[in-house]
């Protein structure tokens, strides 16, 4: 593991992108930041720009218009950047699998490292997913 990756894992900054979700997963992500769960004590910080982020959280079933914007964001992210898919919609498009506007799932557009299922997943599940991601990158 390189020095840069080791340093980043101490404090992964996350950027949150909604690609057309119903906002329920987004609310659960915001719940992780409230004093009850408080992910900032693990050094995770929700940042306002992808250029500051190490982790990209994606919610929602990618539709035809947001797929292009998702690709642009992924290209702008500083490497190494890991992608976390949150919720049933971003895993397999859930209810919207036959929608005319959602042709391909998220992991056919950009590489995804962690999948967190649920509709919506609980904040504990989101925190658990990110912790598993850190362990996976560390190789422990």
């Amino acid at each position: 593991m390189s020095f840069a990756v080791n340093a980043l894992l101490k404090s992964p900054w996350v950027f949150h992108l909604s690609t057309g979700s119903c906002n329920n997963c987004d609310i659960e992500i915001l719940d992780c930041l409230t004093p009850r769960y408080d992910i900032e004590r693990f050094g995770m910080l929700l940042v306002g720009s992808i250029k500051h982020a190490d982790v990209l959280l994606v919610t929602g079933s990618c539709n035809r218009k947001s797929a292009g914007r998702l690709k642009t964001l992924y290209e702008q992210a500083p490497q190494p950047c890991v992608v976390v898919a949150i919720g049933e919609c971003s895993l397999s498009r859930g209810l919207f699998i036959h929608s005319y506007n959602c042709p391909v799932p998220l992991d056919k557009i950009i590489p995804v490292s962690v999948y967190i299922p649920g509709c919506p997943p609980k904040p504990e599940a989101i925190i658990g997913g990110v912790v598993k991601l850190i362990q996976k990158v560390k190789g422990t």
Binding site: K65, I97, Y100, V104, P105, K108
Partner: protein, 158 residues
């Protein structure tokens, strides 16, 4: 102040040739089926002279025809008037209301791309929601819509 009966009677006498059917569904709800060529006259009368609020318009593909419902609410008598227009399914076409009031502009653009209804005289008819690569003449909310994208994946991969 006008009452509910006065408003309905006024509409019925003023537009008696254009109203096909009037369904008095409940104290709060009236459906009025009108001829498509009279939509600008009746719609702008209800909006401007009766001082109604334009809520939304909804388009439905009913298989035998395509219909549009324009919903107006008259808050001073607590009444929702829905103007129902039935259009030919082969070539649905109606006059645009967007020159009478601006709120109908975007919903007409949306109905035009999703259901393929032509709005004659619309000031800026271009795409609102669908992406650029979407083919012309394919309307996703029609009942006989079929998949056109060969790259689409419709299984869950398990």
């Amino acid at each position: 102040m006008r009452t509910r009966e006065q408003v309905l009677k006024d509409l019925q006498t003023r537009f008696k040739d254009d109203i096909v059917d009037l369904l008095d569904k409940s104290p709060k709800r009236v459906y009025m089926e009108i001829k498509p060529e009279a939509i600008v006259r009746i719609g702008s009368y209800i909006f401007k002279d009766l001082e109604a609020r334009f809520n939304i318009a909804s388009g439905v593909d009913a298989r035998s025809h395509i219909e549009i419902l324009y919903h107006f609410s008259l808050e001073y008598i607590n009444l929702l008037i829905s103007l129902r227009v039935k259009l030919d399914r082969e070539k649905p076409s109606i006059d645009s209301l967007a020159n009478s009031f601006k709120a109908v502009n975007w919903v007409e653009r949306e109905m035009s791309e999703l259901l393929g209804i032509e709005f004659k005289g619309h000031p800026e008819m271009k795409r609102l929601l669908l992406p650029e690569e979407w083919p012309e003449g394919v309307y996703p909310l029609r009942a006989d819509y079929e998949e056109w994208d060969k790259n689409a994946i419709r299984d869950r991969g398990v």
